[in-house]
Symmetry: C2
Subunit: 329 residues, 2 copies
């Protein structure tokens, strides 16, 4: 794959453990349905015991986005940290096999590769319990500044913000990408995370050109109702993109709000990765000079594919789907 890349995504390197679950299980373990909770290794072991039969699938928010961009035919690299263990091998294999450049060296000591226990309830909502493991230790030395300088867009998941170990890595990436006029993009990731790390995320916002979030996240970020929240955020970021599940998405660009409907879906099996894949389509569009509404339409298409099956990465060729829908140029 030729360097440099159009897009660099940065986030936690995670292997997902997906298990169908009852509606009650998350609550019984003190988790709120639809959110993410950080857990330690001991808690991960305990929770795994009570989970139903699972499938394992590479995940991580920004890594899913990178896989989506590659599945659309985009040029993309991923920056994140695994350990040199079995799960690290799985993560590395999958992201490279999906066409994403990934060459951050695996840690040779310390905690194992991160994993995320995902409880998928009957209504296809997912509740995540994440053990970050090695993923939390992405130091500034792991950020290849040249990749960020040369990229058109550097995209980071909100989960990287507010962690002591990764704070400087985030700043380094943002500074590097602005050096030659690249744009810095952030996903708010999770309403729970926004509440927990509001200060760090808020401080970063002035460096953010493109902001992604769902309704709950942007209202949590600002403490305002949706309309006002979008307006506030649009004062700080050039593009604000709000996803709303089946209701589609809203894009605020040049003082205009554009409403884009969701792509139709037969059966929603598992919403894991919906936001990540929406961002993938949107970013692919931006780096190919699409208008914002077209970017959102491509995002909706990519999200629709991933919620039709278990797992947060595309299982079909998104570029073929997009071509069939007349969304590729």
């Amino acid at each position: 794959m030729d360097r440099p890349f159009d897009i660099i995504t940065i986030g936690h390197a995670i292997v997902d453990v997906l298990a169908p679950s009852s509606d009650d299980l998350p609550g019984a373990y003190g988790m709120e349905k639809g959110t993410m909770t950080l857990i330690d290794e001991e808690r991960a072991t305990e929770l795994y015991q009570v989970l139903g039969p699972a499938i394992e699938s590479s995940g991580g928010s920004a890594a899913n986005t990178a896989a989506g961009i590659a599945a659309l035919g985009g040029s993309v690299g991923f920056i994140g940290k695994v350990r040199d263990d079995k799960l690290g091998e799985v993560f590395t294999h999958d992201i490279r096999a999906s066409g994403v450049a990934f060459d951050v060296p695996a840690a040779t000591s310390g905690p194992g590769t991160g994993l995320c226990l995902i409880m998928v309830s009957p209504d296809a909502q997912r509740t995540m319990a994440t053990y970050l493991g090695a993923g939390a230790f992405l130091y500034p030395d792991d950020i290849d500044a040249n990749l960020c300088i040369e990229a058109k867009i550097v995209y980071i998941e909100g989960y990287m913000c507010g962690l002591h170990e990764t704070e400087w890595s985030v700043s380094k990436a943002a500074a590097a990408c602005h050096l030659k006029g690249g744009r810095f993009a952030l996903s708010l990731s999770d309403p729970y995370w926004v509440d927990l790390k509001a200060a760090s995320l808020g401080a970063l916002l002035d460096n953010v050109d493109i902001l992604f979030g769902n309704e709950e996240e942007v209202t949590a970020m600002t403490g305002s109702e949706l309309d006002l929240a979008m307006s506030e955020l649009a004062h700080r970021c050039e593009l604000v993109v709000v996803t709303r599940g089946a209701k589609g998405s809203l894009v605020v660009a040049n003082n205009q709000v554009i409403e884009v409907p969701a792509h139709p879906v037969d059966t929603v099996v598992d919403t894991t990765g919906a936001g990540d894949l929406f961002a993938a389509g949107f970013l692919y569009g931006l780096t190919h000079d699409y208008e914002p509404a077209d970017c959102a339409e491509l995002g909706s298409l990519a999200a629709a594919e991933v919620i039709g099956h278990l797992g947060a990465r595309p299982q079909t060729s998104l570029s073929k789907l997009a071509a069939e829908a007349g969304l590729l140029r």
Copy 2:
């Protein structure tokens, strides 16, 4: 779970690595589409490199059958061998979480837990490259004779036959289950395997009460056309069950051939596990005094569920599906 169990299944403990693949990939690596090839660890590493992004899911033919029986509400235990490593933990978690009793101690030395690289081609056919690892070392001491003596049915996958290390384990299980009038069931597993291990499988047949195979397997086993093959096998086994994909199944019992149509399926995603789940439904029916035709119908229902998604174990409650279809008593 109360001992004893209605059904004991015996087979290789395997974690599946499922990856969508082109039609050409199996051929390029010397494998025939739709069959299983045994590979060593080095070859597994080489093949994994060229596979696309994958998902990992517990598998193994007889283990899938056990998971299917449990998903129907049946009483079942599994006998097979893992190593005390990460994949072994995954296998153990998944089979227990699906409601199957499993307590063969993990090997603490020797090869790692077995895995099966499964290439799923666009027509939903699967080609399997299996590294048996620890699974191949199931010694007679690992077979709990009491479980086999007390079971109504002991079911074994053909893949256990013809391996030096497991030959005596198979004999021990067959002898034990006949002690108190239990029935011994065998799945032929794979036409490639039947060709390779015809002598061992043939020698076992006189101890087999219930035989499962698809069209290719039963004709490979006998060297005869389907009609004659069924008749020959029915001379040696009380029940002969032949699966035929979309064409349904044939059951030979009491000198009668019964034809049962396949259960309708919306979209076939991945045929991995279809035969295993058919056997699950059939065996559940037998241990609940169903007529052979009703056993086959339940088998078809279970097979239909598993081919509708990636992975060889049920992802929904089979007992609920069966109740809705009026097939549970």
